[in-house]
Symmetry: C2
DNA sequence: TAGATTGTTAATCGATTAACAATC
DNA sequence: TAGATTGTTAATCGATTAACAATC
């Protein structure tokens, strides 16, 4: 009866559940079940029911889950009933792509400020914004009560910028620089490193270097 | 003595080890140890030694690891002694960022072709390339023996494009669309979903919506 | 009710950590 | 040698799965 604290790995799957539920919603479906969700995500039905059970009982015995209701509940659990303002640091190619990425808003996030320290970029338009001087970082973050930042700066600058973000009050960083940032315990970091992901997959590829061109023995 | 097959989760950490080793190399360091690597990555020394032990013994008792040597060995294990040609599908904002991303090459990858099906994009320059007609996808992939693809197309198109990639011989897909792709067992997929990562972190943030502006009770 | 699927408990499986003999 | 750190084994910890009573 006394719920054990949800493990982080289960929390990390909730966004995936939210994703399939939105997908089902778009298909006009009103109910689903752990079997179907599992199939779509490549997870076992048991795992989905277990994960959900850390947060409560959201289904109906014999009938599965109401798509809209479960969706709503997951958004509540994940603190997505509000829109979180996000600071984006770095207005290079990646910064541009992120500033123009449409899925943040439906996900519960909105980039409200973009920073760079390159004088040639400051003031230029980016998405619906103008690039702000990185010198303004602390001021803007504090004035707007921003607690989430996306870090899209070169590797060499990443830790220094992260330190400033943390000092300004940021509590969650989505880090695109290939480095494990050092931050206090109460600050969450998620790292996105496409090269590491490719390298992970390369392990399973045929090492065979030659060949392919046109098969000679 | 008979090594057990390395678990995928350990394989996935090898790129991180490679990353710190490169970092150490840049700092001019010639040796390191599991303690130091662990500190830099936020992992236990035991875990690092265990992970490496699946692939062999690379250290010297009492002296730790030779940075250059371990680096070399990890690149060998991960099949990174060659440069893998990569196909990029999708020439939107994200495609642009990826095509201009400098870290693929040092990681062992090179984007050799960019595809899009938008007539207004086909033929236009992107990085060092010209955007190719997506209709040429199969031909180019087969002719060049490409086995790795990066998928940066809209959600709605993702599965259909993935099907074509697989049919053309692709064995590894880095998927930026927020959907779990259905692929055969011998095809690896890694998914990158920044929104899901932000949502994961949002769970740990203060749910408090108001406040912040200027603290009124 | 009979049928279906949940929520939960217990069993299994796998990953991490601790500990230490091996050894340079 | 004494000191240090590896590679590996065994112990611990945690996550996943199987199974089923609960119940709509």
């Amino acid at each position: 009866m006394v719920k054990r604290k949800a493990p982080d790995i289960a929390v990390g799957r909730l966004p995936l559940y939210l994703r399939v539920l939105n997908q089902l919603l778009e298909e006009g479906r009103t109910t689903t079940n752990s079997q179907e969700m599992g199939t779509r995500l490549g997870l076992s039905p048991a795992q989905i029911r277990k994960d959900l059970s850390y947060f409560g009982g959201f289904g109906r015995f014999g009938a599965g889950y109401d798509v809209a209701y479960l969706c709503e509940q997951l958004r509540r659990i994940l603190n997505l009933e509000r829109t979180w303002p996000v600071a984006l640091v770095g207005a290079g190619h990646l910064g541009h792509a992120l500033a123009n990425y449409g899925r943040f808003s439906e996900g519960g996030f909105e980039i409200v400020a973009v920073f760079d320290d390159d004088p040639s970029k400051i003031g230029s338009p980016l998405g619906r914004h103008q690039v702000l001087d990185a010198a303004q970082l602390e001021r803007v973050i504090q004035e707007q009560g921003i607690v989430i930042a996306i870090l899209a700066v070169p590797l060499q600058a990443a830790q220094a910028v992260a330190d400033r973000l943390v000092a300004a009050g940021i509590k969650a960083i989505l880090n695109y620089a290939p480095v494990r940032l050092k931050v206090p315990n109460d600050v969450k970091v998620q790292e996105i490193d496409p090269v590491a992901r490719l390298q992970h997959m390369a392990y399973y590829l045929e090492a065979d270097d030659a060949a392919m061109d046109d098969g000679e023995a």
